[in-house]
Assembly symmetry: C2
DNA sequence: AAACATACATAAAATTCTTATACATTGGAT
DNA sequence: ATCCAATGTATAAGAATTTTATGTATGTTT
């Protein structure tokens, strides 16, 4: 990930949310989608992405389907049942996190 | 910090924002203030806090004033001029970060 | 022919945080 | 009187995540 330190720790949640929405995605597609959504602010690097995907798979949250498209390898990831359940929790945590960070940035609004 | 991984990378920004607002604070006070603001969600541990404060000081973003209160040592931290300037940048980054994360969580709103 | 985009991967190093421990004072409860 | 909780700072070992750099290979554009 590029730029701000703030994105540290949010990669797994981002991956899981995108997969929840799209059904299945491959690694490179995830990087492009995130770049698009954040208008270029967030560039997920391969060095961060692939180990993260492999770990989520090892934890049983994702499963992979390998396909060959245009003679190039693609690994499509999708949420397992366990992963889907866990995504609900992670998104709830994310919403709390965002609220908390907003309370810190803008304490005037907490009346 | 306790619970969610999401807070990783946000500690420095939290510290700087609180100092910008309060003028000066000591470590323990920061932990209590954050606990209060987040209604107990975020517990900043000493093992994370003190190294972070020392590093910000080493970078010239914070300066320290040692005082003895009730025979207990207190180290009050405040932003340097450099730190104040940098805080503006960090808060802008935080706002972008929050917006980006909201775009990811709630893509429907991005029409 | 070179450069760029697509597509995956790993390994060393840096960074940040968790967990555990340490020391010292004050105040309240047993 | 003694113990425990709260206040206050600190460090060190280890874990986890990310950065940076590198590698492989194909397809497309200039």
């Amino acid at each position: 990930m590029k730029n701000s330190q703030l994105y540290k720790g949010s990669l797994n949640t981002i991956i899981m949310k995108l997969l929840e929405e799209k059904g299945r995605m491959y690694g490179y597609e995830i990087t492009q989608k995130v770049k698009e959504i954040t208008k270029g602010d967030l560039h997920i690097t391969e060095g961060a992405l692939y180990p993260a995907l492999h770990k989520l798979e090892a934890e049983g949250l994702l499963e992979v389907e390998v396909e060959r498209v245009d003679n190039r390898l693609r690994k499509y990831y999708k949420l397992t049942e366990k992963g889907t359940t866990e995504t609900v929790n992670r998104l709830a945590e994310l919403e709390d996190f965002i609220k908390n960070m907003q309370s810190i940035v803008n304490p005037k609004l907490s009346y």
